[in-house]
């Protein structure tokens, strides 16, 4: 049984009569211990989706549709007390900016100790030793001394380590990591990802990793969901998404990733023309139609829906890569002018 099941999730802003849809019809399952990647460009709704899981959509946004089940419990139906307990015990969250996600006026040890005392009810001494143990686990050198460090005395990477310790202190079964390495430099990024992988294995956590970086996703995840314009356009095992991307957007996204060892002209990254769609009312057409290199007139009628294209592999584009259409369909070359 899956640990987390999201179905038909919608997040809206603006007046209820004429809502602006930021996330629509997102469905996702996460199995225990599984790492799911959520990839997409800025504004694609990936952060909102991750926050919706904890019912933390920032006001004035609201969850307008959908069901969220965590371990069989209906998250949308939770009272505020149940919700607090759910956040305290079952899910941990790591934020993008380690420079402001720790409270500047408290020592890092005190912040972890507070979580342990408030959420797990540990005593003072026990919380302290557990906090030092957590600091050691996340690779903080000399944890006893750094227990009394203020956040501003630590580097970005160190702070993100502390944040990971804080988020995992109450041993959640599910970790939400919203762009955990975006604010860090590349070498630190690598270390933090390795740490996350270790923590995930040691604590047997499932993880939802939100990133705009396909490289990070490829390194960490079992499965990937690609988001565009507030919808999942393609999802599947990492291997399948990389080797046989089915949706034109996924292909464009992969084509725009620069390869480190490719110097020749042939494999230069190809940028995707145009701009991502603005948040607006739901329209009955494919979200990607404006920028799609292989858009057809049919794309403008009928809302898109995810169709199975392989083992656990779904794509929202009915025209590309469907076995029925033929493997080498010339459709891909057609363009609507």
């Amino acid at each position: 049984m899956s640990l987390l099941t999201i179905s038909g999730l919608g997040v809206e802003f603006g007046p209820r009569a004429a809502p602006l849809s930021a996330v629509r019809d997102v469905s996702l399952t996460v199995d225990p211990g599984e790492v799911i990647g959520l990839v997409g460009e800025s504004g694609s709704g990936k952060s909102l989706t991750s926050r919706a899981i904890m019912r933390m959509v920032p006001s004035p946004g609201r969850i307008s549709a959908g069901e969220i089940y965590f371990d069989g419990r209906d998250v949308m139906a939770m009272s505020s007390k149940e919700l607090r307990s759910f956040r305290a015990h079952d899910v941990g969250m790591i934020f993008q900016d380690p420079f402001s996600s720790l409270n500047p006026v408290f020592k890092v040890g005190a912040q972890i100790t507070e979580t342990l005392r408030a959420n797990l009810g540990l005593g003072r001494a026990e919380a302290r030793s557990t906090a030092i143990d957590m600091l050691e686990r996340v690779g903080i050198p000399r944890p006893e001394q750094h227990f009394s460090s203020y956040p501003h005395e630590l580097s970005g990477g160190m702070r993100q380590r502390v944040m990971i310790a804080l988020a995992t202190a109450s041993r959640p079964r599910f970790l939400l990591a919203d762009e955990p390495t975006t604010a860090l430099d590349v070498t630190t990024q690598k270390q933090i990802l390795t740490l996350l992988a270790t923590m995930r294995r040691d604590f047997d956590m499932a993880m939802l990793l939100v990133s705009h970086d396909f490289g990070v996703i490829a390194q960490m995840c079992d499965r990937v969901a690609v988001m565009y314009g507030g919808q999942i356009v393609e999802s599947g095992p990492v291997e399948a998404i990389y080797r046989t991307p089915q949706h034109p957007y996924t292909r464009a996204l992969l084509a725009s990733v620069p390869e480190l060892d490719a110097v020749d002209q042939r494999s230069r990254p190809t940028p995707l023309e145009g701009y991502p769609p603005e948040i607006g009312p739901v329209r009955d057409e494919c979200v990607f139609v404006e920028r799609c290199p292989s858009a057809r007139p049919d794309c403008r009628s009928g809302r898109m829906s995810l169709e199975q294209v392989g083992t656990r592999h779904h794509s929202a584009c009915p025209f590309e890569g469907r076995p029925a259409e033929g493997a080498q369909s010339p459709v891909a070359k057609e363009r609507v002018v």
């Binding site: 933390m56 900016d97 500047p104 001394q145």
Partner: protein, 288 residues
């Protein structure tokens, strides 16, 4: 072995050596205020004479070793009167400043955190209270309850919480959007823990800085009201009333007016210096 230990000891030592570093201005400001407060608190021990003991044989004596600040028109020792006056003034000012401060900060934080209708109601109330002419309000309360310190003790807190509310609300609007506040929600902390333990420590500084201005304002208000004869009533020693009584003798006995006023000025300077260094933010800075 020894060199290896040295290498290991280096960074460790620097972590341990970390300490709070107090800027000179804070030390000077605190020193001035501390001395004056200490003098006031210890007035019964230090004061060489009974502040209300009349001595018609020695009116308006100039400052000397017997009477450090001279005597007033009734032969009372001015130094003793000033000490007791400070004691009264500081006690009243402390109450009218530091009782409304936490109340205002809490109300403002709650308004800023929750926003919406609650915030609208509180903010309009603050607007109404602030728009009252302060001095007129205090004097009209005195008119109702009669001359004495009661008017100040009631009138000032009724108004001054609103300033702290406004400051705290504005800061909360900024702080509530910061990731560490979101982290509090993600960690399942209660709202009261989030507001009181995590947000308020980050927003009290502005209120504390403002309170230094407020203390001085309240001290001058108290002295001013007493000077007008509406505050502390004779023969209670109070700086404002000492000055008021002394001004008739300004040309013959300058010290009666000048020296108690000088104490006020020095206290004001001390408060100003401390407030300045608080607002610099260096007081909380940790220097390796």
């Amino acid at each position: 072995m020894t060199s290896e230990m040295h290498v290991l000891a280096g960074p460790q030592a620097s972590v341990r050596r970390r300490r709070r570093h107090w800027p000179v201005s804070a030390v000077v400001g605190l020193g001035i205020i501390g001395t004056i407060v200490l003098l006031a608190v210890l007035a019964p021990i230090i004061a060489p004479y009974d502040p209300n003991k009349l001595d018609f044989a020695s009116p308006t004596l100039a400052p000397s070793w017997h009477h450090l600040m001279g005597t007033d028109q009734n032969g009372r020792d001015l130094f003793s009167r000033t000490l007791y006056g400070l004691r009264l003034d500081l006690a009243v000012v402390a109450v009218v400043t530091f009782v409304p401060l936490p109340i205002g900060v809490v109300i403002g934080s709650v308004a800023g955190y929750f926003g919406g209708k609650l915030d609208a109601v509180i903010s309009r109330l603050v607007d109404i209270v602030i728009s009252f002419p302060f001095m007129v309000l205090v004097i009209s309360i005195i008119a109702m309850v009669g001359p004495g310190l009661k008017g100040i003790l009631i009138g000032v807190p009724i108004v001054s919480w609103s300033l702290y509310t406004r400051l705290a609300r504005a800061d909360m609007l900024v702080i509530r959007e910061l990731p560490y506040m979101e982290a509090c929600v993600a960690l399942g902390y209660s709202r009261s823990r989030t507001i009181f333990r995590h947000a308020i420590p980050n927003l009290v500084r502005n209120s504390l800085v403002f309170s230094t201005v407020d203390v001085m304002g309240n001290l001058l208000l108290l002295a001013g009201v007493s000077y007008l004869g509406l505050g502390a009533q004779p023969p209670t020693p109070e700086l404002g009333s000492i000055i008021a009584e002394g001004q008739a003798y300004m040309l013959t006995a300058w010290w009666v007016v000048t020296l108690p006023a000088l104490v006020l000025v020095v206290f004001g300077v001390g408060i100003g210096i401390l407030g300045d260094s608080l607002s610099d933010g260096r007081l909380s800075g940790v220097v390796e």
